[in-house]
Every structure is written in structure tokens, then in C-alpha cells.
């Protein structure tokens, strides 16, 4: 198989002595760092930890669902397990995954800056994340919570005596971590671009992070106030969500989904940014319709705020308002379609190679297309009646979040691993892992579409026996998927020490991050670059190489 990997001569290659990792030593130098790259590494370690916890909980869920009866655990235990799975995966993994790790690491470098605009706020956001994480761990240790990650009132306010308060506080804190990350990105992208780095020379990765950041800044506080009101309702009984006192429990859902629908765009948009970078690099081509892809990100961010009620179509909201929200949902589906087609046509007349990040990107495109299209089923008012609150929605959500976001995250981690660590991951085994993940994923979640259509409700610890076969398929698939996720953790750790030296630009990619040493210097650039070319300009790269060769030969 032909490849574009170009590594330096391994016998003479060295990791640069001075880089952001070796600059200072000691735990304290990490814990008090202002360096966006180190904070990204801190984030990477902590979200991997929480991903492992969330993954283990997912394993328990699938094991329980192997049989129709609730025999592995009692129903309330099962309820706690899926609640904690949701809370951990969404608030502690998916929301910060790409932005806080890859975004943190790359955005300043991609725009030619030395750091994010507000390094201290960046560090603060990591500490808030950790504080939120510790609260979640405390919640689990104290016996968990069983509200479901959606905290539906009045169940969460009056009918449960599990640790709703600590979970609410945890999410509140983690939410502020996400607000600070988003705020930092927006400021950085506006104010810190290198000379010549105009808006339309920005890599699409930066565009999609910009769009996601808008959602983080404007959406998250509404979740925060919804949680504050839940906490006040529980502690004081102010009645805002209490039907007995004249409150409307549906109001909570309005406030909750005002954040939590845009939140799925917060999760998926950065992933889309990764895919743009990967597909361009491995087909050696400028992204087809750069402006369309850039603006579709912003369109998703804007329209994302107008569609939240599609989570509530059957909940007794006004039938007339469902029309508006359903129509707007259709509009927000279009930018995603635009992106998929533009990525497909980026391949056209390219020169394509199939390294691991590209395989993950292909996986993303396939799974995200399914996830997106099934989203239209749920955004259409008529079919939503039958499909909502069943396994269809579970499958849809996991296709977008796990099939989409997690694939993109893994694509990005593999793609920038050489930049972050200076070493390559092992190519063959990682391609295998990508394949295993893809197969395992489909085995796990595709049967759930059929289960949902058949009517199996979500969040059931026990279910009618006729659904067992498909559930067994799903659980079997989950074990394959588990292997697919375990492998990267193992071989990436291995490669930290034994991986091949990557050199500055193993992929021959055009981004500014590839023109500096790997791992980068603490200040990223020895001198601030002056940008004189568009993103994904492979001719420029070619000219640069020719120029460099001339210089060396002289």
C-alpha cells in the first residue's frame, strides 16, 4: 500500500532536546502550567480516565441486557449505572473530548500564536473539570444517582432520594469548565491570529471549534440555571417545576434542552473539524468547497439554538410550536449533509492513502451519515411519536456521538499523536484497531435501530423476551467494540517510549502545526510566522520543500 508517511532516518533521528514536555520537570510544573499544550495533555489524561469509567459502565449495561430479566443487578442499580454512564460520558468525556485536548493543543499553533489568549483561565477550566469529575466520583462512591442524565422533573426534584444535588453541582462546575474553554477559543481566534492569517485562511478545524465555542458560551449557562432551579426546588421547594404548586415541569425540559440540544453540536462540531483536516491531508487536496464547509459550521451553531423542542414533541407542548421546531430541525440537517458531500468530493481527483486517521475518518463519514439521517426520523413530528423514547433514539444518539464523535476523536488522536509526542503510533495494529472499532460499533448499535422500531423502550432493566436476540447481538458487538477501544490505549502508551521518531511533518501536511518541531517548543514558534497562503495549499508546501532543499544544498 502506498503511503505518504515520511519519517526521518531513524538511526540519526532524535526527539528535539528542548520541547514543551522537557522544558520543566516535576509534577508542580505541570499542575501550575499556563502552556496550552501541557493543559491539553492534562485534559487528555483525565478524559481518558473518565472514558474508561464510562466505558466500564456501558459494559455493565450491555451485560445486564443480555437476558430479558434484570438478573445481573437490581433495577435501581441498573438505573444508577445508565445514569452515571450518561453523565460521565456526556459531561466529562464527549463535551471536553476534542476541544479540550486537540483543540487546546492545536488552535494556538494553527493560527500562529504562542498560546491561548488567557492561559490562566485555561488552567482554571481544567481544575474546574477535575473538580466536577471529583464530584461525580463522590456521587458514585456515595451510592450514585438514578435520574437519567436528563434530570427530568419532577422525578429528579421530588421523587428520588439519591445524590441528585452532588450530581447537579458536578455538572454545574463542569459546565463552567466548558464555558471557559469556549470563551478562551473565541477570544484567541479573534485576537491572536498571526499576521496574514485571515479568517478564510484558517484551517476548518479552527472554524468548527469557533462555532462550537459560541454554543458553549451561550448554551451552557442555561443548563446551569436549570440545575440551580432543580437544586432550589429540592432544597427549598420553590415550586417552579412542581405541578402541585402550579409550576410547569415541562419548563425544565425547555431550559434543559436549550442547552442539551446545542450540546450535541458542541460535541460533534469539533469532530467535524478533525475530519476536514484528516481527509484533506490524506487525499493531498484542498477541502472541496472550503467556504461552504466553514459556513456550514457556523450555520449549525446558529440553527442549533432553534430546534430544542424536538426533544419534547410528545410531551404535551403546543402542537403548533412543534411545527416551527420541526421545520427548523430540517434546516439544521442540511449543513451536515453539505459537509458530508464536500468531504466526499475532497477525495475526487485526490491522491489518497489509507493510514489509520483516514480509516477512522471514513468510519466517521459512514456512521455519521446514518446517525444524521436517523436524526431526521426523530425531527419529523410524525415518526417521532413512534420512535422517540425507544432504542431508536439510543442508536441514533450513539451513531452520532460514538460513531461520529469518538471516531473523529480517535482519528484526531492518531493524526496528531506524532505532533504531540514526537513519536509515531504503530501503523498496522492501529489500522486493525480502527477496523475492529468499526465492525464492533455496527454490531452493537445497528440492532438497536430495529429494537427501537419494534418499540423496545430505553432505560429498561428488564424487557420482553422477544427482544432478546437483538440485544444479544448488541452485547456481542459491545465486546468487540471494547477491544477496539482497549487496543489504542495500549499501543499509544507503548509508542510513547518505543514508537518511531516522527520528525516535524510525517504526513506532509500543510497546517502551521506541521511546520514546527514535534513535540513543539513551549512558545510554539521560534518567531511568529507570517502567513501568505490559504489552508491546505499543497503547492505552497511543495515550494517550501524545494526551497528548503536548495538552502541545505547551498
Amino acid at each position: 500500500m502506498s503511503t505518504i508517511i515520511s519519517l526521518p532516518d531513524q538511526s540519526t533521528a532524535r526527539i528535539p532536546k528542548v520541547n514543551f514536555i522537557t522544558k520543566e520537570n516535576g509534577l508542580l510544573s505541570w499542575l501550575l502550567t499556563g502552556d496550552h499544550k501541557r493543559i491539553a495533555m492534562l485534559y487528555l489524561a483525565s478524559i481518558t480516565f473518565f472514558f474508561a469509567i464510562g466505558g466500564a459502565l456501558a459494559g455493565l449495561i450491555r451485560l445486564e441486557l443480555l437476558t430479558p430479566q434484570s438478573d445481573l443487578m437490581a433495577t435501581d442499580t441498573y438505573n444508577k449505572v445508565f445514569t452515571m454512564h450518561g453523565v460521565v460520558m456526556i459531561f466529562l468525556f464527549l463535551v471536553p473530548s476534542v476541544p479540550a485536548t486537540l483543540g487546546n493543543f492545536l488552535i494556538p499553533i494553527m493560527i500562529g500564536a504562542k498560546d491561548l489568549a488567557l492561559p490562566k483561565i485555561n488552567l482554571l477550566s481544567w481544575y474546574l473539570y477535575v473538580a466536577g469529575g471529583i464530584m461525580v466520583l463522590y456521587t458514585m462512591a456515595a451510592g450514585g444517582v438514578d435520574t437519567g442524565w436528563t434530570f427530568t422533573t419532577p422525578l429528579s426534584t421530588h421523587y428520588l432520594n439519591t445524590n441528585v444535588l452532588s450530581t447537579g453541582i458536578a455538572i454545574f462546575i463542569a459546565g463552567f469548565s466548558s464555558i471557559f474553554t469556549g470563551l478562551n477559543f473565541i477570544v484567541t481566534i479573534h485576537k491572536m491570529r498571526a499576521p496574514g492569517m485571515t479568517w478564510f485562511r484558517l484551517p476548518l478545524f479552527v472554524w468548527s471549534h469557533y462555532a462550537a465555542s459560541i454554543l458553549m458560551v451561550l448554551g451552557t449557562p442555561v443548563l446551569a440555571i436549570a440545575l440551580v432551579l432543580v437544586i432550589l426546588e429540592r432544597t427549598m421547594g420553590i415550586g417552579v417545576f412542581d405541578a402541585a404548586k402550579g409550576g410547569d415541569p415541562i419548563l425544565f425540559q425547555h431550559l434543559f434542552w436549550f442547552y442539551s440540544h446545542p450540546a450535541v453540536y458542541i460535541m460533534i462540531l469539533p469532530g467535524m473539524g478533525v475530519i476536514s483536516e484528516v481527509i484533506s491531508t490524506f487525499s493531498r487536496k484542498r477541502v472541496f468547497g472550503y467556504t461552504a464547509v466553514a459556513f456550514s459550521s457556523v450555520a449549525i451553531a446558529v440553527f442549533g439554538f432553534f430546534v430544542w423542542e424536538h426533544h419534547m414533541f410528545i410531551m404535551g407542548v403546543s402542537t403548533y410550536s412543534t411545527l416551527v421546531f420541526s421545520l427548523l430541525t430540517m434546516l439544521v440537517a442540511v449543513p451536515s449533509a453539505i459537509k458530508i458531500f464536500n468531504w466526499s468530493f475532497t477525495l475526487y481527483k485526490g491522491s489518497i492513502t489509507f493510514e489509520t486517521p483516514m480509516l477512522y475518518a471514513f468510519g466517521f463519514m459512514g456512521l455519521f451519515t446514518i446517525g444524521g439521517l436517523t436524526g431526521v426520523f426523530l425531527g419529523t413530528t410524525g415518526t417521532d411519536i413512534h420512535l422517540t423514547e425507544t432504542y431508536f433514539i439510543v442508536a441514533h444518539f450513539h451513531f452520532v456521538m460514538v460513531g461520529g464523535m469518538l471516531m473523529a476523536f480517535l482519528a484526531g488522536i492518531h493524526f496528531w499523536w506524532p505532533k504531540m509526542t514526537g513519536r509515531m503510533y504503530p501503523e498496522k495494529i492501529s489500522q486493525l484497531a480502527a477496523l475492529i472499532t468499526f465492525i464492533g460499533f455496527n454490531f452493537t448499535f445497528f440492532p438497536q435501530f430495529i429494537l427501537g422500531t419494534l418499540g423496545m423502550p430505553r432505560r429498561y432493566a428488564a424487557y420482553p423476551a422477544e427482544f432478546q436476540v437483538l440485544n444479544v447481538f448488541s452485547t456481542a458487538g459491545a465486546t468487540i467494540l471494547g477491544v477496539g477501544y482497549l487496543l489504542p490505549i495500549l499501543y499509544l502508551t507503548w509508542s510513547l517510549r518505543y514508537g518511531e521518531i516522527a520528525g516535524n511533518n510525517p504526513w506532509q501536511a500543510t497546517g502551521l502545526e506541521w511546520q514546527i518541531q514535534s513535540p513543539p517548543l513551549t512558545e510554539n514558534f521560534a518567531e511568529i510566522p507570517i502567513v501568505d497562503h490559504d489552508a491546505y495549499d499543497y503547492d505552497w508546501l511543495e515550494r517550501k520543500h524545494v526551497h528548503e532543499r536548495e538552502v541545505t544544498s547551498v
Binding site: A117, V240, H254
Partner: protein, 221 residues
């Protein structure tokens, strides 16, 4: 450095956007229930002292003014003026919270705190209650009277969140006074003062809306 100064100002504005949305949820809830339970909201609002409310609005606006003057002093490097303005802002902030405490304790005495032995007496029997009597309230039917609890729930949630912002602001002010005394903001590094000013004015704006929404619902006959 200039880039940094610029960036923090912009960041402060973005942070204020999150604050707007944070209060946005409360305002949404308020509008819905006020629309549903208007008589209860009227009766509830008559329990608030318009004198204290107006006074507090004046106090807060004045504190915004002294804060703005403080920023001006920092800009023009007048150390004494800056310290004076900050101290005045600090004191006015405390006065605001003091008045708020008086108001809260009145509510606690009358059992108007939702969830804690909430009492409907002032609403079902307005003659027994000074404030309701002065406002000329008619007795509310029991079902509507019960919804005054919603009014007070929102009252405490909204003014409580606002007061929390005030407390945070006052704490930062105390820190700033010490730093200003040492001359930290009168050598050209005014970003912190400016950004804090933005925050303080924002808190003022929230109150500018809370005041008519909570205190001034139908004061006439």
C-alpha cells in the same frame, strides 16, 4: 501586551454573555408564571416595600456611577480618586445588601419564604396584613393565593442570584481596594478595573430589570 489587554476585555464581554443567558432562564420562568398567575404576582409584589426597592435601585445606580468614575480615575491615573471611588462602590454595595437583608428578614418573619411553613394569610385575608391593606388588596381565592408561593419562589431565586453576584463583586472590590492603594492600577494597567467595571454594571442592569418586574407589578388601585 496590547493584544493581551484587548483579549481580556473581549473575554469579559463573552463572560457577560453567559451571565445574560444564566439570568435568561430565570426571566423566562418569570414571564410564563406571571402570565399564568397574574393576580398572585400582583398580590405578591404588593408585599415588597417600594421604598426599599426604589432606594436600592438608587443605591445600585449610584454605585455604578462611582464605579464608572473609578475607571475614569484609573484611566487618568488618579490614585486617590480611584481608591475613593472603589471604597464608595464597596460601601454602596454593602448598603444594597443590607437593605436586601432587611427585606429578606421581613419575608422570613411573615413566612413568605417558599417551602418553609409558607403562609397564605396576607393574601387570603389582606386586612390582617399591613402591606396588603395599604395596597388595597382584595382577598385572593385560595387557589390563586397558593400561587403567590411561586411568585416568592421566583423572587428569592432571582434576587438571590443577583445578591450572589453582588457578594462576589464586593469580595473582588475589597481585593481591588488593597491593590489600588498599592498603586497597581494607576500605572497604565487598568484592564482589571475596566473589566470589573463591566461586571459591576452588568449586575446593575440585572437589577434595573428585576426592580420593575418584581416590585412594580400594578401598584395602582
Amino acid at each position: 501586551m496590547e493584544q493581551q489587554v484587548d483579549a481580556t476585555g473581549f473575554a469579559m464581554w463573552l463572560f457577560l454573555l453567559t451571565e445574560i443567558m444564566f439570568f435568561g432562564g430565570l426571566f423566562t420562568a418569570y414571564l410564563i408564571y406571571r402570565n399564568w398567575y397574574y393576580p398572585a404576582f400582583v398580590a405578591g409584589s404588593h408585599q415588597l416595600s417600594i421604598l426599599w426597592g426604589t432606594l436600592n435601585t438608587g443605591v445600585l445606580i449610584t454605585s455604578s456611577f462611582t464605579m464608572a468614575m473609578g475607571v475614569w480615575c484609573a484611566e487618568t491615573r488618579r490614585k486617590g480618586g480611584l481608591v475613593l471611588c472603589l471604597v464608595l462602590t464597596f460601601l454602596l454595595g454593602l448598603v444594597f445588601l443590607g437593605i436586601k437583608t432587611i427585606e429578606y428578614s421581613e419575608k422570613i418573619e411573615k413566612h413568605h419564604v417558599p417551602g418553609f411553613h409558607y403562609s397564605l394569610k396576607s393574601f387570603t385575608d389582606p386586612n390582617s396584613d399591613e402591606a396588603a391593606k395599604t395596597a388595597g388588596d382584595k382577598p385572593l381565592p385560595l387557589d390563586m393565593a397558593r400561587h403567590t408561593e411561586m411568585y416568592f419562589g421566583l423572587y428569592f431565586a432571582m434576587t438571590g442570584m443577583h445578591a450572589l453576584h453582588m457578594i462576589i463583586g464586593i469580595a473582588i472590590l475589597a481585593f481591588m481596594i488593597v491593590r489600588a492603594q498599592a498603586g497597581a492600577y494607576t500605572t497604565g494597567h487598568i484592564t482589571f478595573v475596566e473589566n470589573f467595571g463591566l461586571y459591576w454594571h452588568f449586575v446593575d442592569i440585572v437589577w434595573i430589570f428585576l426592580f420593575p418586574l418584581l416590585y412594580l407589578i400594578s401598584r395602582h388601585g
